[in-house]
Symmetry: C2
Subunit: 142 residues, 2 copies
DNA sequence: TGAAAACTGTTATAATATAACATAACGGTT
DNA sequence: AACCGTTATGTTATATTATAACAGTTTTCA
């Protein structure tokens, strides 16, 4: 969370804009788009898209924040991603909720798949569509 | 390729615009963006983005074409995806080449990961970043 | 045949992201 | 302190990606 290993720069080194963006993402439990963030941070002096995108770029690079590709949105992460594990979201087709999964169980299978074609895998990024537990229960109830 | 099972509508049923877009994608070995396609198909009478996006929507829905999220681009597929297997691309960080992988080997691990949280998974969509075989060989050579 | 559904063409606009440039703050060296 | 390279910032303008909305046409099929 704070600093799990030598790979991650400590959060204290974040710049003002990076910190503002990160805090905004943390204070939200779902994903936010760059323009959502811009709206929320205008009062703090962030007025133009590049300011947001630059902060996001750095945060994503260090793995504190992930980009949710299918929605052009960003979420803060409280996993570690130390050894270079992947980033995988479970996205509910019914309610749109998302949850980040650990890829540990998948990594071995993934590796064998890529090795078969001589591809040297670094990390997986993906999304699983499906139905979350609450939505599943609602369905069987009805 | 043509029709592998009852899930896929036969390609003969594609409309003119869908066929034009599909053929354009097939004639290219890499991914194309919607606007790339628009440029290539202007002479065939496709002049506006919605015409391209609508065709793509249908093609992606039926699984003949995939969307490469990290690039906002589209690629034709020659796998089957019958049982609802996922869509997974290996993307080379060095040369940008892409290759579609089968997800069979990782489906089980994925399932156990999602079941652990009560999520009922339908299908995976993702990308593995890494280094492709040719680029790997170039590196060790140098 | 005749209504519903799907596809088409078109214009306009929304939403997402980056280029380019000028300035300011930071960090280490002399 | 003065210097210099690097990184971060603010700003304007623009590029890129995607959809809304509407009118007309074709296809499907009861
Ligand atoms: Zn994470
Ligand atoms: Zn749900
Ligand atoms: Zn495929
Ligand atoms: Zn390569």
């Amino acid at each position: 969370m704070t600093q799990c290993c030598e790979h991650h720069p400590p959060e204290e080194q974040l710049t003002r804009n990076q910190r503002l963006v990160l805090d905004a993402l943390r204070s939200e439990d779902g994903p936010l788009t760059a323009y959502n963030l811009l709206d929320r941070l205008r009062d703090e002096g962030l007025r133009a898209p590049p300011q947001i995108y630059r902060a996001l770029e750095k945060l994503v690079e260090t793995g504190i924040v992930h980009r949710l590709e299918s929605r052009n949105a960003f979420v803060s992460c409280n996993h570690a991603h130390c050894g270079g594990q992947g980033v995988l979201f479970a996205v509910c087709d019914d309610c749109g909720s998302i949850e980040e999964l650990r890829t540990d169980a998948i990594d071995a299978a993934l590796r064998s798949t890529t090795e078969a074609i001589g591809f040297h895998a670094h990390r997986l990024a993906g999304e699983v569509r499906g139905v979350c537990r609450p939505c599943g229960l609602k369905k069987t109830a009805s």
